[in-house]
Symmetry: C2
Subunit: 485 residues, 2 copies
């Protein structure tokens, strides 16, 4: 018998006997897999969920449990924000970059409110409160926050801004685990057969159709026939250094993958069945530098002492742009008025302090008044409430003129730049995996970070977009797999 | 019979009878295919070369016929340059970016001199003269030019600079056609069976091995058995808008693909056999803005009036970085002393002229003295012969202070930004195509822009690197295919 691998499917004709049969097999018990399994089971299919780890959660459980939702939720309205389906769609398309998935953006915008109701109906709790300001995750259990670049140029010029980060009610950071607990409870109630410590290791094909998978359980191969479909919900590949080098080499600069088991296995299995993997170079990264929020009034410069972005963008967009700079570090320039202690976990250090920007520049090893010239030019316009070079919004502009001054260092080796990958399988809005000719591969579905979905451009990512994609398009994949024949 | 496509191989068991048999089949008659066919034939194999067009040339014939060669050629030495294998290897590795193919860089550096002798032995003529300065292609028939970023930061800090662009003797631009005429003559002398108007449309596999191909000739399918190997030398995918969107969406900004028939067919066929396509987002682009060369003394600014690179880098690296800027255009700022008429084909226009930089800025629609501040900061250091922000080399620094002043506009819609793709199949230095597990696929080889080779990072590309890769690694592929069993 031919040996199957992540890279090569087994052939059904080589399977002597099937160990398990089911309608739908879901691989991976993060948010995407949970939602897929749930919808498939509710549509009447028998569902088995295979999870390589020892329990539910995946990378979703490491998140803040924040979901990007808009179009006018009750919570947005209560907080005084008018949001519309069109504004949400416009933002999503812009955030998707040059090859945004228009069909997915429009479908999600049209169903975002209904999806929010669905989440609540599953038991995901929301306190309903709005917390203004620049926030990474709510420090207590508030719901609505600004979680992207909505108010920042160039997004604000195209899509009417509204806060859309909807965070599960949970005290402190890390609500993702609670979100997964809620989803897991529903999955089990729905009768999904959950197999943990079960690592899917190859797909099984019959002609052009995916008909099952081989999993390793107790170190034995188990052959699973899935009559209607297999859903890959295995996450991205931020923990596979070899794939990172070949497909997303810019991430080699960074040291902190956010992942539970993101080894790219589902992407590789999908490709082995002829699936198209797209935008594999894209990734999200962030260093949590916006604590205290007054830091947003500072300005970032690269090793040449030059600014490179409007600092009021989403912290992840600012961080992503840091990675594009030449060299190994950037500096955040702050004056006494906005100085504060960075978040410990960010591992941001003080690189220089001085009574003048000239002194700070010298201490950084920059010649003469290179740094001072950058600040001078910024200050000059900031005094008039504008930033013609980078279009930072007026309410984040502050003349940096109160001594002492400091340069805080963020460097890619030591500072905490978390990252995860955004490239993956190309899917239809139904979750069907497309081959390189654009056709759906019968019997094969994918969702979440195993796909290139709503979030597909690192510079456009906003908090909550990945979970929005995982939960909503996970649901689509499960539902369509269940009714497939 | 299953129908084969670019996306799906045919199975040998489905082929009723073979129309043609050969040892080695080469697909594509550009420089990579010609060199592969030549070496395979000289190694004693029977070789058929299939070309979709009506004659030899491919995209190589559209080039300047310049090959990146170093390590101390007779011509480098005669011009007074000491170059070494180590310096060449160091430059190639840096030019390859974060995932440079170290093995290929080292192999090429070690054999670059021998490869140059081989090219001469094929009859490629070189006048032997060195032409100093910033040059796109020699205006007459000189040989050696600076064709990359060797003298520019940060390359100059790591690899000892030397000019390495070796241009075929040819009056004027466009020596690529002549290069292909020379190679074609040798190919025919070597007894290669050349089939033009023969479009390869799928590979044929027997188990894990590629054993042939199906080509369409006179609109009939022709089944070709290749006993030793198939070499994909089909170029990149700059003329396939669908692939560009999925894999290299930044190129959607650009309007001028350089290609003859670069539809990605070989990459797709290679992937259909399990080949790994890597760094698919990478591309080369350039606008020929360095005519007159004094323009290099100008400074580029983006729509925010900010500089973004040392302008003395290779014109392609500068152009590639333009594409990274926000917005749709950039401006080259020049003063009266260095003003000149841009190359017609570049389609660069004069956006603003003024007696002061303040006036130029106003005319561009920038507020107050934003532009003037950028020039002031540049001038201040240029007067001292340094550029601390971007490290432009001293001999290209000039204080921009002689009125009148001008801003020349390069925009991505109207200006001539030619581009081609750099992503493609992952290959071993032997030319064997690797699968996603890194293993060689038996019987399958690739070379040139169907692969991710020596030039694999758009920001590191230098003129002549693609032809160096095509010719040298084309030879390796042909030789290895010929001796494979």
């Amino acid at each position: 018998m031919t040996r199957g691998t992540l890279h090569r499917p087994l052939l059904a004709t080589d399977i002597a006997s099937w160990d398990i049969e089911t309608d739908v097999a879901v691989i991976g018990f993060g948010a995407a897999g949970a939602c897929a399994a749930l919808e498939a089971a509710r549509a009447g299919a028998s569902v088995i969920l295979f999870e390589a780890g020892s329990g539910s959660g995946g990378t979703s459980a490491l998140s803040g449990g924040e979901i990007y939702i808009g179009g006018g939720t009750d919570i947005q309205r209560a907080a005084g924000f008018e949001d519309t389906q069109d504004a949400l769609a416009a933002y999503l398309k812009m955030a998707g970059g040059a090859d945004a998935d228009i069909a997915k953006c429009e479908l999600y915008a049209a169903h975002s409110l209904a999806h929010f109701e669905w989440l609540k109906a599953q038991g995901v709790p929301y306190k309903g409160t709005f917390l203004p300001g620049k926030i990474i995750e709510p420090p207590e259990d508030d719901t609505l926050i600004w979680s992207g670049s909505e108010e920042a140029w160039p997004f604000s010029a195209t899509a009417k801004p509204a806060p859309r980060g909807h965070v599960i009610q949970f005290m402190g950071w890390g609500g993702g685990r609670k979100l997964m607990d809620v989803l897991e409870a529903r999955v089990r109630e729905a009768g999904v057969d959950v197999r943990i410590d079960a690592r899917a290791s190859s797909l099984i094909m019959e002609g052009e159709r995916v008909v099952g998978l081989m999993a390793r359980i107790d170190n034995r191969p188990v052959y699973v026939r899935a009559h209607r479909g297999v859903v890959l919900a295995t996450g991205g590949f931020c923990m596979n250094p070899d794939m990172l080098a070949r497909y997303a080499p810019q991430t080699l600069k960074l040291s902190n993958p956010i992942g539970e088991n993101d080894n790219g296995s589902g992407i590789l299995m999908g490709m082995s069945a002829g699936g198209d993997a797209i935008h594999m170079d894209e990734f999200f990264t962030t260093c949590p530098w916006i604590v205290p929020p007054d830091f947003v009034k500072g300005i970032f410069v690269n090793e040449g002492g030059q600014r490179f972005i409007n600092e009021d963008c989403y912290h992840g967009r600012v961080s992503r742009t840091m990675v594009d700079q030449p060299g190994s570090k950037v500096w955040l320039l702050v004056d006494n008025e906005i100085f504060g202690k960075p978040l410990d976990m960010a591992r941001i250090t003080i690189a220089a302090v001085g009574e003048s920007w000239e002194e700070v520049g010298r201490e950084l090893g920059l010649p003469e008044d290179l740094l001072a010239a950058t600040v001078r030019s910024f200050n000059r316009y900031a005094a008039d409430g504008c930033d013609p070079a980078f279009h930072k919004a007026p309410h984040w502009l502050k003349v940096l003129d109160e001594a002492p001054f400091a340069a805080l260092e963020l460097n890619f080796r030591d500072s905490y730049f978390s990252f995860f990958t955004l490239g993956g399988l190309s899917t239809l809005p139904t979750g069907q995996v497309r081959d390189r000719a654009g056709e759906a591969i019968p019997g094969l579905y994918a969702a979440g970070r195993a796909t290139s979905g709503l979030p597909r451009w690192g510079h456009g990512y906003s908090s909550g977009m990945s979970l929005a994609d995982c939960t909503f398009f996970g649901r689509q994949a499960g539902r369509h797999a269940a009714i497939a024949v």
